[in-house]
């Protein structure tokens, strides 16, 4: 079993990163891999209750929620990044918050940490 953390940090709007991070993560379940996701910096905006990429013609985030439930994927986010951006987390998310000071210990629990 390999523990792999996918980290999304780029802006959540007008880009593919959030969806691409989740899509890649779900793609890991065919192997003996335990994937998890960390959202930090501007990617945390994707957690906003009214985040609606589909309004700009991008892929919606709703599909992601379905797969998270199906695979029970752990999703983490950096607490300070959420507070700084005044993100109001939607009810569909079950997010585990990590403080910046705990990030180093947290990422060292994984075999691979893949910043996307």
């Amino acid at each position: 079993m390999k523990k792999v953390l996918f980290v999304s940090y780029k802006p959540a709007m007008g880009t593919i990163w959030i969806n691409e991070t989740f899509r890649t993560t779900f793609g890991m379940y065919g192997e003996d891999i335990e994937p998890a996701i960390l959202l930090m910096d501007d990617s945390v905006i994707g957690l906003n209750k009214d985040y609606a990429p589909e309004k700009m013609g991008l892929l919606p985030i709703k599909t992601v929620h379905r797969y998270i439930k199906r695979y029970e994927t752990e999703v983490y986010a950096v607490k300070e990044d959420i507070e700084e951006r005044k993100v109001k987390i939607g009810d569909d998310w079950d997010i585990k918050l990590i403080s910046k000071e705990d990030l180093s210990d947290f990422v060292h629990e994984f075999d691979l940490v893949i910043f996307m």
């Binding site: 940090y9 180093s104 990422v107 994984f110 075999d111 940490v113 910043f115």
Partner: protein, 93 residues
Amino acid sequence: MMIIVKYPPSHKISLDKIKLAKDGDVIVLIQDGVLYALDEKLMTDLKNKGVEVKALKDDFTCRGYSEEESFADLIGYDEFIDITVEKGERVIG
């Protein structure tokens, strides 16, 4: 763990990655990440923390710097592979 840093100091994420390093880790600076090798204080702080720092020589010198200006150990791609083999079982990239 082996931590690969490719973005320059002007990209916040590169310093965020450097801050993840713990005692026993090795940071490998590549591409514009080699600019961190010019920062004597940061390189010394990392060494004091028990973190090794290497920088790709080709990426450093092709940006117009001489080897003497680097405060990190300069390595070739062959040594990059050696480090990957020795310390890269777990990677932050």
